[in-house]
């Protein structure tokens, strides 16, 4: 199957936008990715091993969190697993002209 890598994390996959792995489940696919690119792990999981709250895993068009089998869902060679950090924010701006960093 193919794992699509979002732009900010490609630095950890030798700039590859997609990585092909052999796997039977989502968990196996992620494990294969991390075995090949160990530096990727801390960007995906918290130190205590939980998927970071802002990271979304999509199996084709389905949120893995809401699949009946979750990360143990079966995958096919033709499937695509997308790693998608969330996008949110808005309003209540800091004072104009304030340092930005």
């Amino acid at each position: 199957m193919t794992i699509e890598i979002p732009t900010p994390l490609r630095v950890y996959t030798a700039n590859q936008s997609a990585v092909a792995v052999d796997a039977n489940t989502v968990t196996e696919a992620v494990s294969a990715l991390l075995a090949r690119y160990p530096e990727f792990k801390k960007h995906l999981y918290t130190p205590d091993g939980k998927l970071r709250s802002f990271v979304n895993l999509y199996l084709n068009d389905e949120d893995v969190r809401y699949l009946p089998q979750g990360e143990e869902s079966a995958v096919q060679p033709s499937d695509t697993l997308s790693i998608i950090p969330s996008i949110a924010g808005g309003g209540l701006a800091v004072q104009a002209g304030a340092p930005s960093a």
Partner: protein, 162 residues
């Protein structure tokens, strides 16, 4: 970051159309390098829906499934997600603590347009720098608008004149 006048106008108009709610969208393009500095070269601005209907006047959220589709569309065109845009209705075009806390796409441009009483005013861009969540930071970023009718005018001045 660099974008065409057409794309620049489009993302600002989006903010006017959704006022008094925040608009949001994705910037597709290429990561390029010029004179040793990285430039996010935007080809297209893709409108996205704001899922924060509970507080759309000061919050935005793009549904992940929409991001997946936009990323897929971009790939088919040879483009990457290089940034995002949203509006601040009746607030300055400065990033907010919420913007910073919710920013996770390091290396991408976060464009904010202030929309005052329905009219787009200042548009600023902030590059999310760093290597991890622990050392990320927003850095002011110059917006280079190409194909301007009058290159002698700053985008903000043009907006005011318009």
């Amino acid at each position: 970051m660099r974008l065409s006048q057409q794309v620049y106008d489009a993302l600002r108009e989006h903010g006017e159309q959704t006022y008094p709610h925040e608009c949001c969208g994705v910037l597709l393009g290429r990561f390029t390098s010029e004179d040793g500095r990285s430039v996010n070269d935007v080809e297209d601005a893709i409108r996205a829906g704001n899922t924060r209907t509970d507080s759309a006047h000061n919050r935005y959220n793009i549904a992940p499934h929409e991001l997946v589709k936009i990323q897929r569309t971009g790939r088919e065109q040879g483009l990457d997600i290089v940034g995002f845009y949203h509006s601040h209705p009746d607030h300055p075009a400065q990033w907010s603590p919420t913007d910073f806390a919710e920013a996770h796409w390091i290396g991408c441009s976060y464009v904010i347009t202030a929309v005052e009483k329905g009219a787009a005013r200042q548009t600023n861009s902030f590059l999310l720098t760093g290597a991890t969540e622990d050392d990320k930071a927003f850095q002011n970023e110059t917006i280079e608008v190409t194909g301007q009718l009058d290159p002698g005018l700053e985008p903000e001045l043009k907006a005011d004149i318009a």
